[in-house]
Amino acid sequence: MNETLLRELIPAVTGVLVRRGADFATAEDAVQDALLRALATWPTDPPADPKGWLITAAWRKFLDATRAENSRLAREVRVAAEPPPGPAEAGLTDDTADTLHLYFLCAHPALTPASAVALTLRAVGGLTTRQIADAYLVPETTMAQRISRAKRTVAGVRFDEPGDLATVLRVLYLVFNQGYSGEVDLADEAIRLARHVRSITADEEVSGLLALMLLHHARRAARTAPDGTLVPLAEQDRARWDTDLITEGVAILQAALARDRLGEYQAQAAIAALHADAQTVDETDWVQIVEWYDELDRLTDNPVVRLNRAVAVGEADGPQAGLAALKQVDPAVPRYLAVEAYLRERAGDLAFAARRYGDAARAATNLAERDHLTRQAARLYGVARD
C-alpha cells in the first residue's frame, strides 16, 4: 500500500474515534501517531486490513493519552458507556458525514488561513507535521505549535456543527497556489482533496475549483524552463500542456456550468479553459475572456480581478483600451506596475515601459517574477540602445 492510499484512510479513522466519544484534538493526535507507526512498520509488515489496523492503533493511543489524565476513570467509563452519536445527514454514510465535518472543522472561520491550511493538511490530508513544516519552510516545532494552537481554537466547536463549504474551498485554493517546495507536492495534494470533497458533496463551486486546479496543473511542465525561470502563458510551449488534465478539467467545468449556479471558481476555471482551448496564443478568445472577467468582477470584489481584466481588455481591444481599463484599478494592487509596463510596451512607449519593468521588478514579491521582470526591462533597454 502506498503512502497516498494510506493517507486517504486518515479522515475516516479520525471520524471513527470521534464517533466513539474521543474529542477531536486528542483523536487527531492519536491518529497522527498511528500514521507515523504505519509509515514505519507497514513497508516490512503490511496489515491485512489497513483501516482496521489504523483504528485499533489510534484507539489504543487515544486510551493511553486519556489514561494519563487525572480524570481518567470517569472519562473511560463515559467513553465506554456512551453510545456513538449518529450522523445527521440523510443519505450519507457515517464515514462520509464525519469526513465532511472534519473538513469544516479544519477550515473553521475562527482559524487564520495559515492555521486552517496546516490543520487541513494534517487532519484531512494525513500529512505528517514534518512534511507540512518542510513544505512551508518552517521548523517542525513551529508547525507542531501552529497545529496545536489551531486545535485549541476549534476545541469548543461541536464536531458535527454545520459548516460553510466556501471556507473549505478557500483553504484548498491556498494549498494549491502554494505550489511546490518540499518533498510533498502541495498542488497534487490540493487536487486530491478537491476530488475527495467533490465525491462527498454536490456543489458546483467544488467542481469549479477542481476544474480550475486541473487546468492550471495541466500547464505545469510548460510553466518553468529547465533552469527554473518562469515562462509566461503567452510564451509557453503548448505542446507540453497535459491534454488529459485539460480534457478532464473542461468536462468537469461544463457539467458544473450546465447547472447554472455560477460562482467565482467556475468563472476562473472558464478563463483557464479558454486559454487551454487556444492552440496558439494568437487564437486566444480574448473577447470571451473579458466577458468572464466582467462576470468574475460581479461575483467578487477583488482588485486583482480588475487588474487581470485590464490585461485581457488590452489583448481584446488594444493597449489603449487596456490602459483605460487599468485607470480603474488601484495602483497599490500587486503586479500593477508589471501590467502597466506590459501595456505601455504594447502601446509603443518603450522607454517608459523599460523603466516600469524595472520598478515592477523591485516591487515583486517572489524571485521568479523579479527575474522575469528584470529580463523584460533589460530587453527593452537593449532595444533602446540598438
Binding site: P113, V138, R146, R149, Y173, F176, A187
Partner: protein, 136 residues
C-alpha cells in the same frame, strides 16, 4: 503567511533612542536577563507557530572579493566605527506585514541596564515568497 527578517545592527540605521553602554559594561545579571529574554521571545514565537530561525553574529567581519585569474582573494576590513554592522537576526513566518511590525516592536523592547527596554532599532525585510500557480 510571509517570512520576514528582523535584522539587528551593532551600528548603522537610525540614531539610537537611548545612549546605552555596550553590553560588556552591563551588570552580569543584566546581561543574563537580556539573553534569557531573547530566548523566551523565541520560545513564545514557536508557541504562536511563527518562529523560523535566529542567529547572532560576531562583530569580527572581513570583506572578501575575487582577486582575478590565478590570484588569491582580496580582503578588506575590519572597518571603522561608521560602517553598518549586522549583529544578528530573527526570521519569522507571520500572517501579514502588520504582524511582522508588531513582532519587531515587541522584540525591540528587550531589557538592558536596569531591566529597562533598550528601544533598539530593528530592520524588517520581507523574504521573496513562491510565485502563485494561479496568476491570470
Amino acid at each position: 503567511m510571509a517570512k520576514y527578517l528582523l535584522l539587528k545592527h551593532y551600528r548603522g540605521g537610525p540614531a539610537p533612542v537611548l545612549d546605552i553602554d555596550p553590553m560588556d559594561h552591563w551588570a552580569p545579571a543584566e546581561v543574563d536577563a537580556h539573553i534569557q529574554w531573547m530566548r523566551d521571545f523565541a520560545t513564545r514565537l514557536t508557541e504562536t507557530g511563527e518562529f523560523v530561525n535566529h542567529q547572532a553574529l560576531s562583530p569580527e567581519g572581513t570583506f572578501v572579493r575575487y582577486g582575478g585569474e590565478g590570484r588569491p582573494p582580496v580582503t578588506d576590513g575590519p572597518f571603522a566605527e561608521t560602517k553598518d554592522l549586522i549583529a544578528g537576526w530573527l526570521i519569522i513566518d507571520v500572517e501579514n506585514y502588520e504582524r511582522a511590525i508588531e513582532v519587531a516592536g515587541a522584540y525591540s523592547a528587550a531589557p538592558g541596564p536596569g531591566g529597562k527596554p533598550i528601544y533598539e532599532w530593528l530592520e524588517v525585510r520581507p523574504f521573496y515568497g513562491s510565485p502563485p500557480t494561479i496568476a491570470e
